[in-house]
């Protein structure tokens, strides 16, 4: 692995997370290093979204720890997480449906007050997604799935995060949109943001990522370089649709 000697920007250690009595994460440990794209693969219900919800404070782990930039954030309130430098495009996009595109993007920068910086980042988002600029005054709830996904990613970028969490950004999108989204993920990463990418589209995700983890019913069953995972027999069988 190419990560020797560095300290991770994000580190989960033996995280257990529950929904009531349902034990959704049964001891997850993973790292994201600065500048990396790390992908989290797994079937529906494996616990990928729950992992992200544990990181962002919406579903606090009952056991284990989460560290970000060396500091423990396991019990930090959800609304404080974004200030620490973690933003996300959540599962189902979760835009504010009755706000316009611009208003949604502004919400992404809610906890910031450097107006010039916010304007700069808005321009940057419009550069990444010219489509959003065209739709800037449209209500987010009335846009197509692909446009909403762009808006959700754009909104997360408006927080100027150090770490970006993306939950199935390609879900339900037409193939051209999927390619475009992955191009943009690559671009965002090149501009210096670390990314934890949850995907069911394993092939695309492994192409984009440096490293990957495979999740099964709340356990991590595989962890390796993306290239190695792509050639891994088990991964090919289960996630890349080979027989």
């Amino acid at each position: 692995m190419s990560t020797n000697g560095r300290t991770p920007i994000l580190q989960l250690t033996d995280v257990h997370t529950y929904y009531g009595a349902i034990h959704a994460l049964k001891g997850i440990s993973l790292e994201v290093y600065e500048g990396e794209i790390v992908t989290l693969l797994g079937a529906n219900g494996a616990g990928k979204s729950t992992t992200l919800r544990s990181i962002n404070g919406l579903n606090r782990p009952r056991q284990g720890s989460i560290r970000f930039e060396g500091r423990d954030i396991t019990t930090v309130a959800a609304h404080q997480i974004v200030k620490r430098g973690i933003a996300q495009s959540p599962e189902g996009r979760r835009l504010f449906p009755r706000m316009t595109v611009v208003e949604n993007l502004e919400m992404g920068a809610f906890q910031r007050n450097d107006r010039p910086g916010i304007r700069e980042d808005m321009d940057r988002v419009f550069e990444l997604f010219p489509r959003l600029q065209e739709r800037r005054d449209q209500k987010a709830g009335t846009m197509s799935g692909g446009e909403q996904q762009m808006c959700a990613i754009g909104r997360a970028l408006m927080a100027r995060p150090k770490l970006l969490l993306l939950d199935e950004p390609s879900l339900g999108l037409a193939p051209i949109f999927v390619e475009r989204i992955f191009e943009i993920i690559h671009q965002i990463n090149e501009q210096g943001t670390s990314i934890l990418l949850v995907e069911q589209n394993a092939l695309m995700a492994l192409d984009a990522a440096h490293r990957g983890y495979v999740l099964e019913t709340g356990h991590i069953v595989l962890a390796d370089d993306a290239k190695a995972l792509k050639t891994n027999e088990q991964v090919r069988k289960t996630y890349l649709g080979e027989t």
Partner: protein, 350 residues
Amino acid sequence: MAADASAPTLATRLRRPSAVGALGGLFVLALLAWLAVNAERTPADFLEVFLIGITTGCVYALVALGYTLVYGILELINFAHGDVFMLGGMFSITYATHFFGLHTGQGVLIIPIVFATLLLAMISCGLINAAIEFVAYRPLRGKPRLAPLITAIGMSFVIQDVGLIWKGPNYITAPDVFPRSKVFSIGGVDYTWNKLIVVVITIPVLLGLLYLVQRTRQGKAMRATAQDMDASAMMGINVNRTISFTFLIAGGLAGAAGLLYSLYVTTVRYDQGFQLGLIAFTAAVLGGVGNLPGAVLGAILIGLIQAFNEGLNWHAPGSDWTQSIVFSILILILVFRPEGLLGERTPEGG
């Protein structure tokens, strides 16, 4: 999600058999005809009743906004809200007479007293409403809808009992300080100071609220929280604090309504919030629950309907029928136009 919500209503509106629409149209026409005949026969009475309706409508609007704000953010019908309004009336009378020694014949001195009382009543009711949320509704967040709803009904009884214990079972009276002399006359009808005062206090409160919700950072947080709580937390919004703030504002509006009502009507009793609350709730539903301008529109309409019903001479059903009429309206809206007159279910006022 807005598209999901509005698409079916639009579709049902288009699909709905036009017989019902025609019947509704006929009913509204008959109502207008009845009003026209009354206006024709006794124009002065009509005008006077109209002005009374606007005045009560203002009080209803302040209370209706509280229902709509809370519904917009939690999708909870806060049944205790009317009772917070009642407490507002009791606070107002207590502050004005016991603290500030308000009595009739004080001249312009009543102005600072009324404003100080208004402020104190708003603060008191705001804090009580926020406390109710904290104690009774917050622990039930994420539980099935029925749980907080039943709790709200329980809170309503609790507050009524507080009023009963505090002020006893009889009407308590406020000094009759709003002058009834005329400001101006139109069509032979005097527009009196007491009505004008109610409107003059209501309007800036409403404008302040609109400004708060539409233009401030806190208002932005309220709108976002109303649309998606988890996403709001991800944006860095303290959702709990935003909900507390919403209850504080709603309670403050109820406090303002309590002051106006107690000084305009001059009597308050422990069970008064229940009936007025249901009227105001109907107003909120009529305007489109969750919609701020809708709540004001609905409240003015209900105020007018009540005044016409109770005050007109020619074939008006009379005050015995007011409750029945208000609830018939509530049922008709819920059946035929659940999204209300102004449609969209938004707290930001579309």
